[in-house]
């Protein structure tokens, strides 16, 4: 039997036993349900804004005001609806009850509930102006076209110099969420590797295994099986998020264009980051013999990962700051920081190449180091195995 066929069997067992285990299924079910619910809920709540703004018209309404309101509303990027009201007291009631946003009384008074909306003031004011003055100009003998020329406001373009492109903003948010997902996934599945290693030591199954396969096969099988489960989970969560977001109305945002690259890059950086850390987690796990002792040992990888995560959050705000830039070159932190800088368009191609090559080399070193410690510590049960001892024992 070829060694890799055995590795495949080991990986398959890891994957199936964990994927069909209750803890995984329950957690996944809960998280998926939550993600899938968020979109439709947010969509339903924010959908309320789609209602027309109601403008009440009371008393003696100057001729043509209603028509002017409807036409001018488009220029103001508003969707309005006029509501006929009897008199001033009726208008007051309607405003107080919130039935209308504003009421125009006798063409000479605007009623607001608490604060006057400048946009509505401008809209109503200009509409009344146009209707009343248009009638006056017509009386003076101007044709409708001539009076229009006088009354139509001179168009002045409005430009905001520092406005975020909603698409870019969406990409940044997606990358930010991706970084969090990546962090959680690497932490979670790294921990699975460590726990699986301890479990096999604690249950003494390791000797039964090692009478059939070499330590490196157990290690690679475990890392691969759990890593595959990590990919599946990542894909499910990202897919659920993608579906969920469809329920939220985001004008000017192409969800596919923002989301799909993030999902693809998430997979890439997970494979890289997980490989980097999984062997470290395995080495750490192999030095203890009981799950209770694992929490202390596992602080080593967590302490290395944590700054990377924090720097990724910094990078989301300020991708060109010195901290995130340097962190995005250093192998342990590349998988967290570089994707965020990439999404923000702040990383140069040479930086990406440097980061990926560096991380791959780092991963290879850790695979070698981790495997050796793992092999040396695996058959030593009892207390905690010292790293130096495990290193030497690997030769036995």
């Amino acid at each position: 039997m070829r060694p890799w066929a055995q590795v495949l069997l080991l990986a398959k067992r890891e994957f199936i036993e964990r994927a069909t285990g209750k803890p995984f299924l329950v957690t996944m079910g809960l998280i998926l349900t939550a993600i899938l619910a968020v979109g439709p809920i947010v969509g339903a709540v924010s959908g309320g804004e789609e209602e027309a703004t109601k403008i009440g018209l009371a008393g003696d309404v100057p001729a043509g005001v209603e028509a002017e309101l409807t036409t001018r509303a488009q220029a103001f990027e508003m969707w309005i609806e006029t509501v006929p009201l009897a008199d001033r007291s009726g208008a007051e009631r309607a405003v107080t009850d919130g039935d209308v946003a504003v009421a125009l009384v006798d063409g000479s008074e605007m009623l607001f509930k608490a604060t006057a909306s400048p946009r509505l003031v401008a809209l109503v004011q200009s509409s009344v102006d146009a209707a009343v003055k248009g009638a006056a100009l017509a009386d003076m003998g101007l044709t409708p076209a001539e009076s229009d020329a006088v009354l139509t406001p001179i168009p002045i373009a409005i430009t905001t110099v520092d406005e975020q492109d909603p698409q870019e903003e969406a990409q940044r948010v997606a990358a930010f969420l991706g970084a969090i997902m990546l962090y959680i996934s690497i932490l979670m599945f790294g921990q699975f590797v460590a726990m699986g290693t301890v479990e096999e030591k604690q249950n003494r199954v390791v000797e039964v295994l090692l009478s059939r396969v070499r330590p490196w096969q157990v290690l690679v099988g475990k890392v691969a099986g759990i890593g595959l489960l990590g990919l599946v989970q990542l894909a499910l969560l990202a897919g659920a998020a993608y579906v969920s977001v469809q329920f939220i109305d985001l004008p000017d945002v192409d969800i596919a264009a923002a989301g799909v690259p993030v999902i693809v890059s998430l997979v890439f950086w997970f494979v890289l980051g997980y490989t980097f850390y999984a062997f470290l987690y395995a080495a750490v796990g192999s030095t203890v013999s009981r799950q209770e002792d694992l929490q202390g040992a596992i602080m080593i990888p967590i302490a290395i990962i944590m700054p990377g995560y924090i720097l990724a959050l910094v990078a989301a705000e300020n991708p060109d700051a010195i901290g995130p830039v340097v962190a995005s070159w250093l192998p342990p932190w590349v998988p967290f920081v570089m994707p965020v800088r990439l999404a923000a368009g702040s990383a140069q191609p040479w930086e990406v190449v440097l980061a990926v090559v560096g991380t791959v080399i780092g991963a290879v070193v850790l695979v070698w180091l981790g495997s050796r410690i793992y092999a040396g510590a695996l058959l030593r049960t009892g207390g905690k195995v010292k790293y130096r001892e495990a290193w030497r024992a690997a030769a036995e």
Binding site: M1, E17, G21, R204, V205, E207, L210, S211, T381
Partner: protein, 293 residues
């Protein structure tokens, strides 16, 4: 044929194996004996490549043992262990397949052994839900399912009740009849005497006695003398006589050229001799002699 040749192994300053070696022929059962810490487990681990010896080799049918040969071996370590939360059947299939069996062969073999142990209906139970004795049987099945040519069992009888002991002994005998070579360690010497054809006794890293059990007993320079005078054990108070208190009636160990007639005469002078046995030493006698330091 399994050959352990001149194995040596040190852990730091501790010598675990010091030129240890023995041979077992195909289809034979060898009892591997020795006090705690004598090197039994270390030797077994070396056979499976769990430890690399500092010197010496392990041969199987004349060739050096490597990973491919080891897949035809079965091992039950002293530290029992399987996955507690994994279902019995899928667990056994997993290990059989790791040893190179195809999926269908593994399924058949596992069904066979579950049937042999009367555990067919527990195949879908988690291992941890089985009784201690049944977990032991599953452990043995894990070592057996892939039809190994060599079976090495570290303390297989430990923790079994008398019925479990008898059924395991029967299983081992019938496996040996099918040509499986078996090595097992045990502290239950009566059991070893009952089950084994060959024996190897290790002490302080060296094999001090090895070979066919009957040969070893006959070849010994000692004899066991059991005398009953007037219903009580009689033991001569002579130089060179080593008194043994039980198990069984008190007796003594003497040199094989000891003067039998003189013993008999002396015993007759005390009272009526009901029983006078002068025989090759038992395994317990050999063991005690071998590990005397």
């Amino acid at each position: 044929m399994l050959e352990l040749v001149d194995l040596s192994k040190r852990f730091g300053g501790v010598v675990a194996l010091d030129g240890a070696g023995f041979t077992v022929d195909r289809g034979r059962i060898l009892g591997f004996l020795g006090p705690n810490g004598a090197g039994k487990t270390t030797a077994m681990r070396v056979v499976f490549g769990l430890l690399r010896p500092d010197g010496g080799t392990v041969r199987w049918n004349g060739g050096e043992v490597g990973p491919a040969e080891r897949l035809r071996f079965g091992y039950m370590p002293e530290e029992r262990g399987l996955y507690p939360k994994m279902k019995v059947r899928s667990q056994l299939v997993h290990f059989a397949r790791l040893s190179g069996m195809s999926a269908s062969d593994a399924a058949d073999a596992v069904s066979h052994w579950l049937g042999m142990f009367g555990l067919t209906d527990r195949g879908d139970a988690k291992l941890e839900d089985l009784s201690h004795g049944n977990q032991q049987r599953i452990q043995l099945a894990a070592a057996l399912a892939h039809k190994p040519e060599l079976l090495i069992l570290d303390e297989p009888f430990a923790g079994l009740d008398p019925i479990g002991v008898e059924s395991l002994a029967e299983n081992l005998r019938s496996l040996a009849d099918e040509g499986v070579t078996i090595v097992f360690s045990s502290h239950q010497l009566d059991l070893v005497e009952d089950v084994c054809e060959d024996v190897a006794i290790i002490n302080e890293g060296r094999v001090v006695v090895a070979g066919d059990l009957d040969d070893v007993r006959n070849r010994s320079a000692k004899r066991r003398l059991t005398v009953d005078v007037d219903g009580r054990p009689w033991i001569p108070d002579w130089p060179g006589v080593e008194v043994v208190d039980g198990p069984g009636p008190d007796h003594c160990i003497v040199d094989d050229d000891a003067p039998i007639e003189a013993f008999l005469t002396a015993a007759s002078a005390v009272g009526t001799v009901n029983r006078f046995l002068f025989e090759p030493p038992r395994l317990t006698d050999l063991f005690r002699e071998a590990v005397k330091t």
